[in-house]
Amino acid sequence: MIKINQIHKSYITGQNSLHVLKGIDLEIEAGEMISIMGASGSGKSTLLNILGILDSYDSGEYSLDGLKINRLSERKAARLRNKMLGFVFQSFNLVSFKNAMENVALPLYYQDVPRKKRNLIAMEYLERMGLTEWAHHLPNELSGGQKQRVAIARALIGKPKVILADEPTGALDSVTSSEVMDILQEVNATGITVIIVTHEHDIAMRTRKTIRITDGNITEIIIN
């Protein structure tokens, strides 16, 4: 599903250049559930952003589902993100003025699905998350766990091949964290590839494979 080859990435700030990724090779099969661990500044988030086509890389090769991803126009990148990828963030990143249902329906809005139809589909996904009663609440009326479940529903609605989660439990207590991980495992069980960036060991333990990154290099691959 995902194949990366000798990916390099540097950030240039003024005179200094910070080499963040130093030649990463990684292959992820369809349907895998993987966690990426590492200290802050190790480059794990940068790797996830490159995988999510939110950031560019300097050299190397990246192919997603057989498609070469290199210097795409922002329009093409947007289409790919919309169709292939689903994002789950630490800070949930829900749109504040849209209710839960509208937030979930957002990816379909960008596919120009008619409003009635996409809201109906959004309701189905909310039901799967057990949030039917909360469909018409704004994000600031929801708890952290509820928000993250809305975010996961939103990530799933476009029927993506890969879910990318950046510290999905970072802002949640341990009970809710466990619930969110349950959901992500269920998602993975339907055949969707799940990649989670985390620095929590027990979260990583619930994935099948953990990749440890240190100073821009993959140092360890652990099968859990």
């Binding site: 939110l54 993100r81 990143n93 504040s96 003025f97 476009g158």
Partner: protein, 420 residues
């Protein structure tokens, strides 16, 4: 296609900081408001001043005699002379470019008045001897009856056409003046027409005190021989009146033994020239109004652009989320431009309405106050100008949104997402 989500977002953005939205909108509102008020006032001034011309044919020239200033053909300088009836035939034969030729003679001389009596009532009025064509050059508003006609001229009938003021003074309210007789310098004339002036203010009051009688009747009845007071000449539609003016003056000088270079001997007034001067002035005023108006409007639009930049910056993260979820750059750009257009158009529309409303109010007050509004009549703007202004607004809304919109999609999605 109506896109509810789009409008929801616009509403949210504009509502988020109400005071800021209001102040920004006020900039545009004020711009278009001022433009409308200034254009409307300019139109009012122009209408006021041009109405002073009445319905006068602008391609007309008036020619009268003055004292000669150069001795010529044995005549001394300082000679007085008169145009006469033979000049009329000569001019109309020699100059085919003439459309209307009318003569006028005033009883008692230029700007002299005469007493007019009817029964026990009397008044002092201007008595003019006229040709039918004069009503084509400087038309009157006929309330009742008619102007002088060719038969009046031919038969030297004793008929009179009187102004409304004359009627007010010589007749009681319930009387019909038509067919009644009035006595001008002891001679009875039958009233055949009543008019009111097409001018405004003082000039109208003046004209409404006039009495017109046939030119030939005046000459004979009051002993003017074949003297002519002045000529009014209108040129054919496609010929400049200055051509006719020049030809007529040259011919008249020759016929009355006036030196060709004696410009002071023949008085003349070219209405077209005055009218053009006035038109130039109004063009200048309009130009100034547009420059100042669009300048004010531009300031408002720049304000909108500025605020949109701030809004885009504030919403960087939100736009980042939308882009991560698959919003294409076009979707983002069109959203921001739309917000800007909605803001400018909405504010501008209110400015337009408020401006027109104020002009209407002024109109109403001017009408009911009965003030002397000679110089300021019916201020207002044309519908087409209003439509143009709205089009400018929409266009400038697009322009104002352009820079912020480009800024919104110029950052990488990840930088937008990380923005705090």
């Amino acid at each position: 296609m109506f896109d509810l989500d789009r409008w929801q977002e616009i509403y949210h953005v504009l509502k988020k900081n109400k005071l800021r939205t209001f102040l920004t909108a006020f900039g545009v509102f004020w711009g278009i408001f001022m433009l409308v008020i200034m254009l409307g006032s300019g139109n009012g001034l122009q209408r006021g001043v041009t109405q002073n011309f009445g319905d006068m044919a602008t391609n007309s020239v008036f020619i009268w005699t003055q004292q000669t200033t150069i001795p010529f053909k044995g005549f001394p300088r300082g000679r007085r002379y008169n145009f006469d009836n033979d000049d009329v035939t000569a001019i109309s034969h020699a100059i085919p470019e003439i459309k209307y030729l009318a003569l006028r003679l005033q009883a008692g001389g230029y700007r002299q008045t005469n007493s007019v009596i009817r029964g026990l009532k009397s008044g002092i009025f201007n008595i003019m001897g006229d040709y039918p064509a004069y009503n084509n050059i400087d038309p009157l508003n006929f309330i009742n009856g008619r102007f002088i006609n060719d038969l009046d001229i031919k038969n030297k009938r004793k008929v009179a056409v009187v102004g409304t003021r004359v009627v007010d003074i010589l007749f009681t309210k319930d009387e019909n003046p038509i067919s009644q007789y009035i006595q001008i310098q002891g001679v009875y004339f039958q009233v055949v027409g009543i008019f009111s002036s097409k001018r405004t203010g003082e000039q109208a009051d003046q004209e409404n005190q006039n009495i017109y009688i046939p030119f030939t009747t005046l000459q004979q009845t009051f002993n003017y021989g074949n003297a002519v007071g002045f000529f009014s000449i209108t040129s054919q539609d496609d010929i400049p009146v200055s051509v006719v003016e020049e030809k007529a003056i040259r011919l008249l000088k020759k016929r009355h033994s006036v030196a060709p270079e004696d410009d002071a001997a023949v008085g003349h007034f070219n209405l077209k020239k005055e009218f053009d001067k006035m038109q130039g002035l109004f063009f200048g005023i309009r130009l100034l109004v547009w420059i100042v108006g669009t300048g004010t409007l531009l300031a408002g639009v720049i304000g909108v652009s500025n605020i949109m930049l701030v809004v885009v910056r504030e919403r960087t993260k939100e736009i980042g989320i939308q882009r991560a979820l698959g919003a294409t750059p076009w979707k983002v750009i069109s959203q921001i431009i739309m917000e800007s257009v909605v803001l400018t158009t909405f504010a501008g529309y209110f400015g337009l309405v408020a401006g027109v409303a104020l002009l209407e109010l002024i109109n109403l007050l001017l009408g009911s106050s009965g003030a002397n509004t000679e110089m300021f009549v019916n201020p207002g703007i044309d519908f087409s100008v209003a439509v143009t202004a709205l089009a400018i607004l929409v266009f400038s809304g697009v322009l104002a949104g352009m820079i912020p919109a480009r800024r919104a999609v110029s950052v990488k999605p990840i930088d937008a997402l990380r923005f705090e």
